[in-house]
Symmetry: C2
Subunit: 211 residues, 2 copies
DNA sequence: CAGGCTGGATAGTGCAACTATCCTATGAGC
DNA sequence: GCTCATAGGATAGTTGCACTATCCAGCCTG
C-alpha cells in the first residue's frame, strides 16, 4: 500500500507517518518506483506499536526508538524475547545499570520470595529506590515489601506467560510495555480503593465532596 | 523576605517564581509597599511542594493547580486531610468519578479484603481499569488481584499513617503524592526483579546483553 | 537626585511532536 | 509529446508547555 493508504489503515496522519519515517521510527517502504514506495503489514503493526507506546504508556519518541532498535534483528527465540522484555523494562523504568548498595530489607524480600540473589540491574534499581524512599522518610516496611513481592511474583508470572503467547515481536513489546503500565495503574487504583476503605475504618466514613 | 531572597531560599529562579505568581500557583506576597512584597515561610513551602510535584511526580502545572486549589481553605482536621488525599489521588490517577459497571473479579477482591463494598470513585476506576485490561487481553487473574489487594492494603495503611503524621497541608500533599509515585515505581522495579527471577526459573538464566 | 533593585507586564526561548508548504519526478490521460 | 494530479522527500512553521528575558515604572538608599 502507499503512504496515503497506510495512513487510512492506521489512523495516523500522512504528515506524522512522514515524520516517523524521517525520525527512523518507521522503516521506509519498499521502493517500487523512484517516487513511489510500498508499505505492508509490518508498517501497520509498527505504527500501532508506536501509537500504543506513545498514547497508552506515555513514552517519548526517543524511548520508543530505543525499544525499536532492540527489536531490530531479534528473532522469535525465548532468549531474544527476554532480551526485548528487559529492554522494555530498562526504558520504561529508566534503569541505568550501575551497581547500588544492597539494602537489607530488599535482601529480606529476595530471600523470602526465594528469588535468586544475584546482583542485577533490576536488583540495583530496587535497592536504589528503597534507599531514596528511606531518604524521603517514607521507607516501605517489611510487610509492605512482602506484599509487593507476592504481587510482583504474580504479575511477573502472568506477564511472562502472556508475553510468550504472542506471535510477533511488535506484539511482545506492546504486551510487555502496556502490561507494565496497566498493572501499575491498576495497583495505584486499588491502593486508592484500599485507602478509601481504611479511611472508613479509621474515621467512620469516606471523605466527601458535599460535606 | 523579598522575591530575590525567596528565590535563593528555594533554588527556584526569580523568573519562575514570577511565572508561578502569574499562574496563580503561588500566592502574592504581603504588599508592604506599592512596589515591594514580603514573602514568608508558606511561600517557601509552597514552592517546595510545586517543585516536588513537578520534578518527582511529574505533574503538569494545571494538575498542580487543581491540587493546590483543593488545599486552599482546608484546615488540619482529619476530614479535610482525607479530602485533600482524595483530590491528590483524583489528579494523579486521572479519575473522573463517573460510574462504571462493577466487575466480578473486583467484587471478589473487595470481599476477600473485607473492604466496604460501597460504590465509590475509586471503585469505579478499578472496575473500568480491569475492564480495559480484559479488553486488551491482559486481564489480571484472581491470584494477581489478591496479591495486589494485600499490597494495596499495606500501602494504604502506611500512607495514611505517614500522611497523618505530617504537620501542615503542604506536607500532607507532598507526602501523599510522592508516596503514591514512589510506591508505584517501587512495585514496577520489584516486578522487574521478579521477572528476572522467573526467567531464570524458566530458562536457566537471565537475558543477557553479551550473549 | 541618581542608581539599583523590586514588582509587574509582555514577549521570547527551547523542547517535543507534529503539521503545512514547497519541490521534484513521475505516470496516467489526452 | 504534453499536461496535471499526486507521491514522496525536504524544509520550515505550529502548538503546547514551562519557563526565561526584557522592558518599564516606582521608590528606597546613599
Amino acid at each position: 500500500m502507499r503512504l496515503g493508504e497506510l495512513s487510512e489503515a492506521t489512523g495516523v496522519s500522512p504528515a506524522s507517518i512522514k515524520f516517523y519515517l524521517r525520525s527512523g521510527l518507521l522503516a521506509a517502504g519498499d521502493p517500487i518506483h523512484p517516487t513511489r514506495a510500498d508499505y505492508g503489514d509490518r508498517h501497520v503493526r509498527r505504527l500501532a506499536l508506536i501509537q500504543g507506546l506513545r498514547s497508552v504508556v506515555g513514552l517519548g519518541l526517543d524511548d520508543i526508538r530505543r525499544i525499536l532498535d532492540a527489536a531490530i534483528g531479534a528473532d522469535d527465540s525465548p532468549a531474544q524475547r527476554l532480551m526485548l522484555l528487559r529492554t522494555v523494562q530498562h526504558v520504561v523504568l529508566g534503569l541505568d545499570g550501575s551497581p547500588a548498595e544492597p539494602s537489607p530489607s530488599v535482601d529480606g524480600l529476595v530471600q523470602a520470595m526465594g528469588w535468586p540473589g544475584d546482583p542485577s540491574e533490576a536488583r540495583f534499581a530496587v535497592d536504589r529506590h528503597v534507599a531514596a524512599m528511606e531518604a524521603a522518610g517514607i521507607a516501605p516496611g517489611a510487610d509492605v515489601l512482602a506484599a509487593y513481592g507476592r504481587a510482583a511474583d504474580a504479575i511477573a508470572e502472568a506477564q511472562l506467560t502472556v508475553t510468550h503467547a504472542r506471535d510477533d515481536l511488535e506484539d511482545v513489546i506492546l504486551t510487555a510495555a502496556i502490561g507494565m503500565h496497566m498493572h501499575n495503574q491498576l495497583i495505584l487504583k486499588i491502593v486508592a480503593l484500599a485507602q478509601a476503605s481504611h479511611s472508613i475504618r479509621r474515621y467512620g466514613g469516606p471523605p466527601r465532596d458535599d460535606g
